[in-house]
Protein backbone atom coordinates (compact mmCIF):
# COMPACT_ATOMS: atom_id res chain seq x y z
CA UNK A 1 0.00 0.00 0.00
CA UNK A 2 1.28 3.38 -0.95
CA UNK A 3 1.59 5.32 2.30
CA UNK A 4 1.74 8.74 0.70
CA UNK A 5 -1.45 8.33 -1.32
CA UNK A 6 -4.40 9.72 0.66
CA UNK A 7 -7.42 7.51 1.22
CA UNK A 8 -9.73 10.35 0.28
CA UNK A 9 -8.64 13.46 -1.58
CA UNK A 10 -11.15 16.22 -2.25
CA UNK A 11 -9.81 18.99 -4.47
CA UNK A 12 -11.59 22.33 -4.53
CA UNK A 13 -15.10 20.92 -4.54
CA UNK A 14 -17.98 23.35 -5.16
CA UNK A 15 -21.69 22.61 -5.27
CA UNK A 16 -24.63 24.84 -6.12
CA UNK A 17 -28.36 24.75 -5.43
CA UNK A 18 -30.89 25.21 -8.25
CA UNK A 19 -31.14 28.92 -7.36
CA UNK A 20 -27.43 29.33 -8.07
CA UNK A 21 -26.33 29.68 -4.46
CA UNK A 22 -22.97 28.06 -3.75
CA UNK A 23 -23.17 25.66 -0.83
CA UNK A 24 -19.63 24.29 -0.81
CA UNK A 25 -16.99 26.86 -1.72
CA UNK A 26 -13.92 25.18 -3.20
CA UNK A 27 -13.48 22.71 -0.36
CA UNK A 28 -10.17 20.88 -0.33
CA UNK A 29 -9.63 18.15 2.17
CA UNK A 30 -7.73 14.91 2.40
CA UNK A 31 -7.90 11.94 4.70
CA UNK A 32 -4.82 9.71 5.05
CA UNK A 33 -5.21 5.97 5.45
CA UNK A 34 -6.09 5.01 9.05
CA UNK A 35 -6.57 8.65 9.98
CA UNK A 36 -9.56 10.20 11.71
CA UNK A 37 -10.30 13.55 10.20
CA UNK A 38 -12.90 15.65 12.00
CA UNK A 39 -15.06 18.10 10.12
CA UNK A 40 -16.55 20.72 12.45
CA UNK A 41 -18.82 23.63 11.84
CA UNK A 42 -22.21 24.99 12.77
CA UNK A 43 -25.51 23.82 11.29
CA UNK A 44 -25.76 24.55 7.59
CA UNK A 45 -22.02 24.89 7.11
CA UNK A 46 -22.03 22.00 4.64
CA UNK A 47 -20.42 19.29 6.76
CA UNK A 48 -22.99 16.66 5.91
CA UNK A 49 -23.02 17.67 2.27
CA UNK A 50 -19.33 16.88 1.95
CA UNK A 51 -20.02 13.43 3.38
CA UNK A 52 -22.91 12.88 0.99
CA UNK A 53 -20.86 14.04 -1.98
CA UNK A 54 -18.17 11.49 -1.17
CA UNK A 55 -20.71 8.70 -0.84
CA UNK A 56 -22.48 9.75 -4.04
CA UNK A 57 -25.84 10.39 -2.40
CA UNK A 58 -26.25 14.12 -2.88
CA UNK A 59 -29.87 15.20 -3.37
CA UNK A 60 -30.75 15.49 -7.04
CA UNK A 61 -31.18 19.26 -6.73
CA UNK A 62 -27.55 19.79 -5.68
CA UNK A 63 -25.08 20.03 -8.54
CA UNK A 64 -21.30 19.64 -8.39
CA UNK A 65 -19.87 22.48 -10.48
CA UNK A 66 -16.18 22.12 -9.79
CA UNK A 67 -13.64 19.87 -8.17
CA UNK A 68 -12.49 16.25 -8.05
CA UNK A 69 -12.92 13.55 -5.47
CA UNK A 70 -10.32 10.79 -5.40
CA UNK A 71 -11.03 7.63 -3.46
CA UNK A 72 -7.74 5.76 -3.06
CA UNK A 73 -6.46 7.45 -6.18
CA UNK A 74 -9.52 6.70 -8.31
CA UNK A 75 -11.26 9.78 -9.64
CA UNK A 76 -14.95 9.29 -8.82
CA UNK A 77 -16.01 11.91 -11.36
CA UNK A 78 -14.45 9.97 -14.23
CA UNK A 79 -16.11 6.64 -13.50
CA UNK A 80 -19.32 5.42 -15.10
CA UNK A 81 -22.24 5.62 -12.63
CA UNK A 82 -22.35 1.87 -12.21
CA UNK A 83 -18.64 1.47 -11.63
CA UNK A 84 -18.75 4.38 -9.21
CA UNK A 85 -21.57 2.76 -7.23
CA UNK A 86 -19.64 -0.46 -6.95
CA UNK A 87 -16.42 1.26 -5.93
CA UNK A 88 -18.13 3.40 -3.31
CA UNK A 89 -20.11 0.41 -2.10
CA UNK A 90 -17.00 -1.70 -1.66
CA UNK A 91 -14.62 0.84 -0.14
CA UNK A 92 -16.77 3.16 1.93
CA UNK A 93 -19.51 2.98 4.53
CA UNK A 94 -21.68 5.35 6.48
CA UNK A 95 -22.36 5.57 10.18
CA UNK A 96 -25.49 7.72 10.12
CA UNK A 97 -26.77 10.35 12.46
CA UNK A 98 -30.16 8.87 13.23
CA UNK A 99 -29.98 5.14 13.95
CA UNK A 100 -33.75 4.80 13.75
CA UNK A 101 -34.35 5.92 10.19
CA UNK A 102 -31.16 4.33 8.91
CA UNK A 103 -32.61 0.85 9.33
CA UNK A 104 -35.56 -0.34 7.30
CA UNK A 105 -38.46 -0.72 9.77
CA UNK A 106 -40.09 -3.62 7.97
CA UNK A 107 -37.04 -5.84 7.54
CA UNK A 108 -35.23 -7.84 10.18
CA UNK A 109 -31.76 -6.76 11.29
CA UNK A 110 -29.98 -9.86 10.01
CA UNK A 111 -30.70 -9.62 6.29
CA UNK A 112 -30.21 -5.86 6.38
CA UNK A 113 -26.68 -6.38 7.65
CA UNK A 114 -25.66 -9.20 5.35
CA UNK A 115 -27.29 -7.65 2.28
CA UNK A 116 -24.36 -5.67 1.09
CA UNK A 117 -21.67 -8.24 1.86
CA UNK A 118 -23.53 -10.61 -0.40
CA UNK A 119 -24.29 -8.06 -3.05
CA UNK A 120 -21.15 -5.96 -3.30
CA UNK A 121 -18.49 -8.42 -2.23
CA UNK A 122 -20.26 -11.47 -3.65
CA UNK A 123 -19.94 -13.46 -0.44
CA UNK A 124 -22.04 -16.52 0.30
CA UNK A 125 -24.87 -16.02 2.77
CA UNK A 126 -23.17 -18.24 5.29
CA UNK A 127 -19.88 -16.39 5.16
CA UNK A 128 -21.65 -13.04 5.49
CA UNK A 129 -23.57 -14.34 8.48
CA UNK A 130 -20.37 -15.46 10.22
CA UNK A 131 -18.75 -12.12 9.55
CA UNK A 132 -21.72 -10.20 10.93
CA UNK A 133 -21.70 -12.26 14.11
CA UNK A 134 -17.99 -11.58 14.52
CA UNK A 135 -18.63 -7.84 14.19
CA UNK A 136 -21.60 -7.92 16.56
CA UNK A 137 -19.22 -9.48 19.07
CA UNK A 138 -16.75 -6.65 18.48
CA UNK A 139 -19.42 -4.05 19.22
CA UNK A 140 -20.23 -5.96 22.41
CA UNK A 141 -23.62 -7.33 21.46
CA UNK A 142 -23.81 -10.53 23.48
CA UNK A 143 -26.98 -12.09 22.09
CA UNK A 144 -26.54 -11.95 18.32
CA UNK A 145 -29.21 -14.59 17.69
CA UNK A 146 -31.91 -12.43 19.20
CA UNK A 147 -30.66 -9.16 17.68
CA UNK A 148 -30.41 -10.56 14.17
CA UNK A 149 -34.03 -11.68 14.33
CA UNK A 150 -35.29 -8.33 15.67
CA UNK A 151 -37.00 -5.56 13.81
CA UNK A 152 -35.27 -2.20 14.26
CA UNK A 153 -37.97 -0.77 16.55
CA UNK A 154 -37.41 -3.60 19.00
CA UNK A 155 -33.92 -2.35 19.79
CA UNK A 156 -32.88 0.70 21.81
CA UNK A 157 -31.16 3.67 20.16
CA UNK A 158 -27.75 2.64 21.46
CA UNK A 159 -28.21 -0.92 20.24
CA UNK A 160 -29.29 0.26 16.81
CA UNK A 161 -26.22 2.45 16.56
CA UNK A 162 -24.02 -0.53 17.54
CA UNK A 163 -25.68 -2.58 14.83
CA UNK A 164 -24.98 0.15 12.29
CA UNK A 165 -21.38 0.46 13.38
CA UNK A 166 -20.95 -3.29 13.05
CA UNK A 167 -22.52 -3.16 9.58
CA UNK A 168 -20.25 -0.29 8.57
CA UNK A 169 -17.05 -2.12 9.55
CA UNK A 170 -18.20 -5.53 8.30
CA UNK A 171 -17.13 -5.05 4.69
CA UNK A 172 -13.69 -3.73 5.75
CA UNK A 173 -14.13 -0.40 3.99
CA UNK A 174 -11.12 1.89 3.53
CA UNK A 175 -13.13 4.95 4.52
CA UNK A 176 -16.08 5.46 6.81
CA UNK A 177 -18.11 8.64 6.84
CA UNK A 178 -19.48 9.12 10.35
CA UNK A 179 -22.20 11.73 10.13
CA UNK A 180 -22.77 13.00 13.69
CA UNK A 181 -23.08 9.41 14.90
CA UNK A 182 -23.59 10.38 18.53
CA UNK A 183 -25.87 13.40 18.22
CA UNK A 184 -29.15 11.49 18.46
CA UNK A 185 -28.05 9.50 21.53
CA UNK A 186 -28.12 10.47 25.18
CA UNK A 187 -24.87 11.46 26.85
CA UNK A 188 -23.94 8.22 28.60
CA UNK A 189 -24.55 6.18 25.48
CA UNK A 190 -22.68 8.78 23.39
CA UNK A 191 -19.52 8.10 25.33
CA UNK A 192 -19.72 4.32 24.86
CA UNK A 193 -20.46 4.64 21.16
CA UNK A 194 -17.60 7.06 20.65
CA UNK A 195 -15.20 4.74 22.44
CA UNK A 196 -16.45 1.85 20.34
CA UNK A 197 -15.91 3.70 17.07
CA UNK A 198 -12.41 4.71 18.14
CA UNK A 199 -11.57 1.16 19.14
CA UNK A 200 -12.83 -0.44 15.94
CA UNK A 201 -11.09 2.26 13.92
CA UNK A 202 -7.77 1.40 15.56
CA UNK A 203 -8.20 -2.36 15.19
CA UNK A 204 -9.35 -2.24 11.58
CA UNK A 205 -7.14 0.66 10.49
CA UNK A 206 -10.02 2.39 8.76
CA UNK A 207 -9.89 6.05 7.81
CA UNK A 208 -12.82 8.04 9.15
CA UNK A 209 -14.28 11.35 8.04
CA UNK A 210 -15.96 12.34 11.27
CA UNK A 211 -18.64 15.00 10.85
CA UNK A 212 -19.66 16.74 14.07
CA UNK A 213 -20.46 20.07 15.66
CA UNK A 214 -19.12 19.00 19.03
CA UNK A 215 -15.58 20.17 19.75
CA UNK A 216 -15.40 17.83 22.73
CA UNK A 217 -15.89 14.87 20.40
CA UNK A 218 -13.29 16.28 18.02
CA UNK A 219 -10.69 16.41 20.78
CA UNK A 220 -11.40 12.82 21.81
CA UNK A 221 -11.36 11.06 18.50
CA UNK A 222 -9.55 12.86 15.70
CA UNK A 223 -5.98 13.44 14.62
CA UNK A 224 -6.75 16.29 12.25
CA UNK A 225 -9.51 18.86 12.04
CA UNK A 226 -11.05 20.95 9.31
CA UNK A 227 -13.17 23.86 10.50
CA UNK A 228 -15.95 24.69 8.10
CA UNK A 229 -17.92 27.92 7.86
CA UNK A 230 -20.53 28.58 5.16
CA UNK A 231 -19.13 25.85 2.94
CA UNK A 232 -15.54 27.05 3.19
CA UNK A 233 -12.68 25.48 5.10
CA UNK A 234 -11.46 28.31 7.31
CA UNK A 235 -8.83 26.39 9.24
CA UNK A 236 -7.14 23.05 8.99
CA UNK A 237 -4.72 21.67 11.56
CA UNK A 238 -3.56 18.78 13.71
CA UNK A 239 -6.11 18.38 16.49
CA UNK A 240 -3.62 19.01 19.30
CA UNK A 241 -2.25 22.08 17.55
CA UNK A 242 -5.71 23.44 16.89
CA UNK A 243 -6.74 23.19 20.53
CA UNK A 244 -3.41 24.58 21.73
CA UNK A 245 -3.35 27.54 19.37
CA UNK A 246 -6.37 28.15 17.17
CA UNK A 247 -5.33 30.44 14.32
CA UNK A 248 -8.56 31.62 12.77
CA UNK A 249 -10.76 34.03 14.78
CA UNK A 250 -13.83 31.87 14.00
CA UNK A 251 -12.18 28.80 15.52
CA UNK A 252 -11.31 30.82 18.62
CA UNK A 253 -14.92 32.03 18.81
CA UNK A 254 -16.23 28.44 18.49
CA UNK A 255 -14.05 27.34 21.36
CA UNK A 256 -15.23 30.24 23.49
CA UNK A 257 -18.80 29.12 22.82
CA UNK A 258 -18.22 25.60 24.16
CA UNK A 259 -19.22 24.91 27.79
CA UNK A 260 -16.48 23.70 30.15
CA UNK A 261 -16.85 21.25 32.97
CA UNK A 262 -14.40 23.20 35.11
CA UNK A 263 -16.55 26.30 35.05
CA UNK A 264 -20.07 25.35 33.94
CA UNK A 265 -21.67 28.59 35.14
CA UNK A 266 -19.43 30.89 33.17
CA UNK A 267 -21.56 32.57 30.57
CA UNK A 268 -20.95 31.33 27.05
CA UNK A 269 -20.00 33.85 24.43
CA UNK A 270 -21.87 33.82 21.16
CA UNK A 271 -19.67 34.27 18.12
CA UNK A 272 -18.54 37.89 18.01
CA UNK A 273 -20.07 40.32 15.51
CA UNK A 274 -16.65 41.39 14.31
CA UNK A 275 -15.64 37.78 13.64
CA UNK A 276 -18.81 37.20 11.62
CA UNK A 277 -18.26 40.39 9.64
CA UNK A 278 -14.71 39.27 8.91
CA UNK A 279 -15.99 35.88 7.75
CA UNK A 280 -18.61 37.50 5.56
CA UNK A 281 -16.06 39.63 3.76
CA UNK A 282 -13.69 36.66 3.45
CA UNK A 283 -16.46 34.63 1.80
CA UNK A 284 -17.57 37.50 -0.41
CA UNK A 285 -13.99 37.86 -1.64
CA UNK A 286 -13.78 34.13 -2.34
CA UNK A 287 -17.07 34.24 -4.26
CA UNK A 288 -15.85 37.22 -6.28
CA UNK A 289 -12.70 35.37 -7.24
CA UNK A 290 -14.72 32.28 -8.13
CA UNK A 291 -17.13 34.27 -10.29
CA UNK A 292 -14.25 35.92 -12.14
CA UNK A 293 -12.60 32.62 -12.93
CA UNK A 294 -15.89 30.89 -13.90
CA UNK A 295 -17.44 33.64 -16.03
Amino acid sequence: MNATRPCLDIRSLSTVLPNGARVLRSVSLSVQPSEVRALVGESGAGKTMIGKAVLGVLPLSVRIVEGDMLLEGEDLGRLQPKARRTLIGARTALIPQDPLTALNPSRRIGPQMTDRLVRILGWSGQRADLRIRQLLDEVQIRDPDRVLKCYPHELSGGMRQRVLIAAAFAAEPRLIVADEPTTALDVTVQKQILRLIAQLQREHGTAILFVTHDLGVVAKISQKVSVLYAGKVVEEAETAALFAAPQHPYTRALMAATPRYTDPFASLKPVDEAVLAGLASEIAAADQAWKRSHG
Binding site: R85, A90, Q97, A102, S106, R107, Q112, D115, R116, H153
Partner: protein, 292 residues
Protein backbone atom coordinates in the same frame (compact mmCIF):
# COMPACT_ATOMS: atom_id res chain seq x y z
CA UNK B 1 -37.05 9.56 32.37
CA UNK B 2 -38.22 10.48 28.93
CA UNK B 3 -37.22 7.08 27.66
CA UNK B 4 -39.23 5.37 30.40
CA UNK B 5 -42.33 7.41 29.66
CA UNK B 6 -42.04 6.68 25.98
CA UNK B 7 -41.69 2.98 26.42
CA UNK B 8 -44.60 2.87 28.83
CA UNK B 9 -46.90 4.67 26.44
CA UNK B 10 -45.72 2.41 23.67
CA UNK B 11 -46.58 -0.66 25.68
CA UNK B 12 -50.03 0.55 26.67
CA UNK B 13 -50.80 1.63 23.14
CA UNK B 14 -49.65 -1.69 21.85
CA UNK B 15 -51.87 -3.53 24.35
CA UNK B 16 -54.99 -1.54 23.66
CA UNK B 17 -54.57 -1.61 19.90
CA UNK B 18 -54.14 -5.34 19.98
CA UNK B 19 -57.39 -5.78 21.92
CA UNK B 20 -59.29 -3.33 19.74
CA UNK B 21 -58.00 -4.75 16.51
CA UNK B 22 -58.61 -8.30 17.72
CA UNK B 23 -62.35 -7.95 18.22
CA UNK B 24 -62.67 -5.78 15.14
CA UNK B 25 -60.70 -8.18 12.99
CA UNK B 26 -62.70 -11.22 14.11
CA UNK B 27 -66.16 -9.67 13.88
CA UNK B 28 -65.54 -8.13 10.47
CA UNK B 29 -63.68 -11.17 9.19
CA UNK B 30 -66.44 -13.46 10.47
CA UNK B 31 -69.16 -11.61 8.62
CA UNK B 32 -67.11 -11.45 5.42
CA UNK B 33 -66.29 -15.15 5.60
CA UNK B 34 -69.96 -15.99 6.14
CA UNK B 35 -71.04 -13.84 3.21
CA UNK B 36 -68.25 -15.19 1.03
CA UNK B 37 -69.11 -18.83 1.78
CA UNK B 38 -72.78 -18.12 1.12
CA UNK B 39 -71.84 -16.55 -2.21
CA UNK B 40 -69.59 -19.44 -3.26
CA UNK B 41 -72.06 -22.15 -2.28
CA UNK B 42 -75.15 -20.14 -3.19
CA UNK B 43 -76.95 -22.96 -5.07
CA UNK B 44 -76.53 -25.28 -2.06
CA UNK B 45 -77.29 -22.73 0.63
CA UNK B 46 -80.18 -20.78 -0.81
CA UNK B 47 -83.49 -22.23 0.38
CA UNK B 48 -85.35 -21.29 -2.83
CA UNK B 49 -84.67 -20.54 -6.47
CA UNK B 50 -83.94 -16.78 -6.47
CA UNK B 51 -85.69 -16.29 -9.79
CA UNK B 52 -88.82 -18.39 -9.18
CA UNK B 53 -91.87 -16.19 -9.13
CA UNK B 54 -95.06 -17.19 -7.38
CA UNK B 55 -97.85 -14.67 -7.23
CA UNK B 56 -99.61 -16.73 -4.55
CA UNK B 57 -96.70 -15.97 -2.25
CA UNK B 58 -96.14 -12.29 -3.03
CA UNK B 59 -94.98 -9.96 -0.22
CA UNK B 60 -94.74 -12.61 2.45
CA UNK B 61 -93.36 -11.11 5.68
CA UNK B 62 -90.23 -12.43 7.45
CA UNK B 63 -90.47 -15.53 9.61
CA UNK B 64 -91.34 -13.95 12.96
CA UNK B 65 -94.39 -12.08 11.68
CA UNK B 66 -97.85 -13.53 11.26
CA UNK B 67 -98.65 -14.58 7.71
CA UNK B 68 -95.13 -15.87 7.01
CA UNK B 69 -94.53 -19.17 5.24
CA UNK B 70 -91.94 -21.75 6.31
CA UNK B 71 -88.93 -21.78 3.95
CA UNK B 72 -89.17 -18.06 3.18
CA UNK B 73 -87.09 -16.82 6.11
CA UNK B 74 -86.89 -13.17 5.16
CA UNK B 75 -90.14 -13.01 3.26
CA UNK B 76 -90.73 -12.46 -0.46
CA UNK B 77 -90.87 -9.49 -2.81
CA UNK B 78 -93.78 -8.27 -4.91
CA UNK B 79 -93.28 -11.07 -7.45
CA UNK B 80 -93.17 -13.75 -4.78
CA UNK B 81 -89.41 -14.38 -5.05
CA UNK B 82 -87.61 -15.49 -1.87
CA UNK B 83 -85.66 -12.52 -0.43
CA UNK B 84 -83.00 -14.52 1.43
CA UNK B 85 -82.15 -16.54 -1.69
CA UNK B 86 -81.93 -13.36 -3.72
CA UNK B 87 -79.60 -11.78 -1.17
CA UNK B 88 -77.37 -14.87 -1.20
CA UNK B 89 -77.15 -14.90 -4.98
CA UNK B 90 -76.66 -11.13 -4.98
CA UNK B 91 -73.59 -11.65 -2.78
CA UNK B 92 -71.95 -13.48 -5.72
CA UNK B 93 -72.04 -10.38 -7.92
CA UNK B 94 -71.07 -8.15 -5.01
CA UNK B 95 -67.97 -10.20 -4.16
CA UNK B 96 -66.85 -10.72 -7.74
CA UNK B 97 -67.04 -6.99 -8.33
CA UNK B 98 -65.41 -6.21 -4.98
CA UNK B 99 -62.39 -8.45 -5.56
CA UNK B 100 -61.84 -7.83 -9.26
CA UNK B 101 -62.41 -4.07 -9.26
CA UNK B 102 -60.46 -3.42 -6.06
CA UNK B 103 -57.52 -5.55 -7.22
CA UNK B 104 -57.39 -3.81 -10.58
CA UNK B 105 -57.61 -0.35 -9.00
CA UNK B 106 -54.97 -1.35 -6.44
CA UNK B 107 -52.55 -2.65 -9.02
CA UNK B 108 -52.71 0.42 -11.22
CA UNK B 109 -52.93 2.97 -8.41
CA UNK B 110 -50.24 1.50 -6.17
CA UNK B 111 -47.77 1.07 -9.00
CA UNK B 112 -48.19 4.65 -10.18
CA UNK B 113 -48.18 5.93 -6.59
CA UNK B 114 -44.97 4.08 -5.77
CA UNK B 115 -43.22 5.40 -8.87
CA UNK B 116 -44.50 8.90 -8.32
CA UNK B 117 -43.54 8.99 -4.64
CA UNK B 118 -40.16 7.31 -4.91
CA UNK B 119 -38.78 8.84 -8.08
CA UNK B 120 -40.35 12.28 -7.72
CA UNK B 121 -39.32 14.78 -10.38
CA UNK B 122 -41.13 14.80 -13.69
CA UNK B 123 -42.66 11.33 -13.18
CA UNK B 124 -44.30 12.62 -10.03
CA UNK B 125 -45.43 15.82 -11.72
CA UNK B 126 -47.12 14.01 -14.59
CA UNK B 127 -48.80 11.35 -12.45
CA UNK B 128 -49.97 13.88 -9.86
CA UNK B 129 -51.52 16.14 -12.49
CA UNK B 130 -53.39 13.18 -13.99
CA UNK B 131 -54.69 12.29 -10.53
CA UNK B 132 -55.80 15.88 -9.92
CA UNK B 133 -57.73 15.97 -13.16
CA UNK B 134 -59.20 12.52 -12.48
CA UNK B 135 -60.42 13.48 -9.03
CA UNK B 136 -62.20 16.54 -10.38
CA UNK B 137 -64.85 14.24 -11.91
CA UNK B 138 -67.76 13.38 -9.59
CA UNK B 139 -67.17 9.62 -9.12
CA UNK B 140 -70.73 8.30 -9.35
CA UNK B 141 -71.57 10.36 -12.44
CA UNK B 142 -68.27 9.26 -13.94
CA UNK B 143 -69.18 5.63 -13.27
CA UNK B 144 -72.61 6.00 -14.82
CA UNK B 145 -71.07 7.69 -17.85
CA UNK B 146 -68.45 4.96 -18.23
CA UNK B 147 -70.98 2.14 -18.00
CA UNK B 148 -73.23 3.95 -20.45
CA UNK B 149 -70.31 4.09 -22.90
CA UNK B 150 -68.93 0.60 -22.24
CA UNK B 151 -72.36 -1.00 -22.16
CA UNK B 152 -73.81 -2.83 -19.17
CA UNK B 153 -72.36 -6.12 -17.98
CA UNK B 154 -70.15 -7.47 -15.23
CA UNK B 155 -66.85 -6.59 -16.87
CA UNK B 156 -67.85 -3.00 -17.65
CA UNK B 157 -68.86 -2.47 -14.03
CA UNK B 158 -65.50 -3.80 -12.88
CA UNK B 159 -63.60 -1.67 -15.38
CA UNK B 160 -65.62 1.43 -14.48
CA UNK B 161 -64.89 1.07 -10.76
CA UNK B 162 -61.19 0.39 -11.33
CA UNK B 163 -60.88 3.34 -13.70
CA UNK B 164 -62.45 5.67 -11.15
CA UNK B 165 -60.87 4.51 -7.95
CA UNK B 166 -57.20 3.90 -8.78
CA UNK B 167 -56.56 7.51 -7.73
CA UNK B 168 -57.33 6.66 -4.13
CA UNK B 169 -54.44 4.17 -4.07
CA UNK B 170 -52.19 6.45 -6.06
CA UNK B 171 -52.55 9.36 -3.64
CA UNK B 172 -52.02 7.45 -0.44
CA UNK B 173 -49.19 5.26 -1.71
CA UNK B 174 -47.46 8.28 -3.26
CA UNK B 175 -47.48 10.12 0.06
CA UNK B 176 -46.28 7.05 1.94
CA UNK B 177 -43.46 6.16 -0.41
CA UNK B 178 -42.40 9.78 -0.55
CA UNK B 179 -41.91 9.70 3.20
CA UNK B 180 -40.06 6.39 3.01
CA UNK B 181 -37.82 7.57 0.18
CA UNK B 182 -36.44 10.31 2.42
CA UNK B 183 -35.42 7.87 5.13
CA UNK B 184 -31.75 7.22 5.69
CA UNK B 185 -32.06 3.52 5.02
CA UNK B 186 -32.78 4.32 1.39
CA UNK B 187 -29.57 6.32 1.29
CA UNK B 188 -27.76 3.43 2.97
CA UNK B 189 -29.01 1.04 0.31
CA UNK B 190 -27.73 3.39 -2.37
CA UNK B 191 -24.31 3.50 -0.75
CA UNK B 192 -24.41 -0.28 -0.61
CA UNK B 193 -24.74 -0.24 -4.40
CA UNK B 194 -28.39 -0.95 -5.02
CA UNK B 195 -30.08 0.50 -8.11
CA UNK B 196 -33.10 2.73 -7.84
CA UNK B 197 -35.65 0.18 -8.98
CA UNK B 198 -34.15 -2.44 -6.69
CA UNK B 199 -34.43 -0.06 -3.75
CA UNK B 200 -38.00 0.79 -4.65
CA UNK B 201 -39.04 -2.86 -4.65
CA UNK B 202 -36.86 -4.19 -1.82
CA UNK B 203 -36.77 -1.33 0.63
CA UNK B 204 -39.73 0.96 0.00
CA UNK B 205 -42.46 -1.44 -1.12
CA UNK B 206 -42.45 -3.62 2.04
CA UNK B 207 -43.01 -0.48 4.09
CA UNK B 208 -46.11 0.54 2.19
CA UNK B 209 -47.67 -2.94 1.97
CA UNK B 210 -49.65 -2.56 5.23
CA UNK B 211 -51.25 0.59 3.83
CA UNK B 212 -51.96 -1.14 0.54
CA UNK B 213 -53.72 -3.95 2.40
CA UNK B 214 -55.87 -1.57 4.42
CA UNK B 215 -56.78 0.43 1.32
CA UNK B 216 -57.51 -2.69 -0.66
CA UNK B 217 -60.02 -3.85 1.91
CA UNK B 218 -61.57 -0.40 2.12
CA UNK B 219 -61.79 -0.26 -1.65
CA UNK B 220 -63.62 -3.60 -1.76
CA UNK B 221 -66.30 -2.05 0.39
CA UNK B 222 -66.47 0.98 -1.87
CA UNK B 223 -66.71 -1.25 -4.93
CA UNK B 224 -69.69 -3.02 -3.35
CA UNK B 225 -71.38 0.35 -2.85
CA UNK B 226 -70.67 1.59 -6.35
CA UNK B 227 -71.93 -1.66 -7.84
CA UNK B 228 -75.11 -1.29 -5.75
CA UNK B 229 -75.53 2.28 -6.96
CA UNK B 230 -75.13 1.19 -10.56
CA UNK B 231 -77.64 -1.64 -10.07
CA UNK B 232 -79.99 0.79 -8.38
CA UNK B 233 -80.08 2.94 -11.50
CA UNK B 234 -80.28 -0.23 -13.61
CA UNK B 235 -76.82 0.20 -15.14
CA UNK B 236 -75.07 -2.79 -13.66
CA UNK B 237 -75.26 -6.27 -15.12
CA UNK B 238 -78.17 -6.56 -17.52
CA UNK B 239 -79.29 -10.14 -16.84
CA UNK B 240 -81.94 -11.16 -14.34
CA UNK B 241 -79.33 -12.21 -11.78
CA UNK B 242 -80.22 -10.56 -8.49
CA UNK B 243 -77.94 -7.80 -7.21
CA UNK B 244 -78.14 -5.99 -3.88
CA UNK B 245 -78.64 -2.62 -5.54
CA UNK B 246 -81.35 -4.07 -7.77
CA UNK B 247 -83.20 -5.54 -4.79
CA UNK B 248 -82.98 -2.19 -2.99
CA UNK B 249 -84.43 -0.47 -6.05
CA UNK B 250 -87.34 -2.94 -6.13
CA UNK B 251 -87.83 -2.60 -2.38
CA UNK B 252 -88.13 1.15 -2.71
CA UNK B 253 -91.22 0.71 -4.88
CA UNK B 254 -93.05 -1.44 -2.35
CA UNK B 255 -91.81 0.12 0.86
CA UNK B 256 -95.33 0.77 2.21
CA UNK B 257 -96.52 -2.78 1.65
CA UNK B 258 -93.29 -4.72 2.31
CA UNK B 259 -90.54 -2.77 4.16
CA UNK B 260 -88.41 -5.90 4.47
CA UNK B 261 -87.57 -5.95 0.79
CA UNK B 262 -85.78 -2.63 1.28
CA UNK B 263 -84.43 -3.07 4.81
CA UNK B 264 -82.72 -6.49 4.58
CA UNK B 265 -80.57 -5.76 1.51
CA UNK B 266 -79.68 -2.36 3.01
CA UNK B 267 -78.56 -3.96 6.28
CA UNK B 268 -76.60 -6.60 4.37
CA UNK B 269 -74.91 -3.92 2.29
CA UNK B 270 -74.02 -1.75 5.28
CA UNK B 271 -72.66 -4.69 7.28
CA UNK B 272 -70.52 -5.83 4.36
CA UNK B 273 -69.09 -2.41 3.60
CA UNK B 274 -68.39 -1.73 7.27
CA UNK B 275 -66.76 -5.14 7.64
CA UNK B 276 -64.47 -4.52 4.69
CA UNK B 277 -63.19 -1.23 6.08
CA UNK B 278 -62.81 -2.54 9.63
CA UNK B 279 -61.11 -5.70 8.40
CA UNK B 280 -58.57 -3.59 6.53
CA UNK B 281 -57.82 -1.41 9.53
CA UNK B 282 -57.50 -4.48 11.73
CA UNK B 283 -55.12 -6.14 9.27
CA UNK B 284 -52.95 -3.05 9.12
CA UNK B 285 -52.80 -2.79 12.90
CA UNK B 286 -51.83 -6.43 13.13
CA UNK B 287 -49.24 -6.67 10.38
CA UNK B 288 -47.49 -3.32 10.46
CA UNK B 289 -44.24 -4.11 12.31
CA UNK B 290 -44.04 -0.57 13.66
CA UNK B 291 -47.56 -0.49 15.05
CA UNK B 292 -47.42 -4.05 16.27
Amino acid sequence: MDEARNSRSRISRRGSSRHGSGARLWLAGGWLLLALLAAIFAPLVAPQDPLAQDLMFERLPPFWMSGSEPGFWLGTDSLGRDLLSRLIFGARIAFIVAFAAALAACLVGSTLGLISGYFGGWADRIISRIVDVWMAFPPVLFAILLVAVLGTGLSSVIIAIAVIDWTRFCRVIRAESMGQARMDYVENARIAGYGRIGIMLREVLPNVVPSIMALLSLEMGIAVIVEAILSFVNLSISTDDPTWGGIIAEGRLSIHQAWWVLVFPLVTLILTVLSFSQFGEGLKARFDPVLR
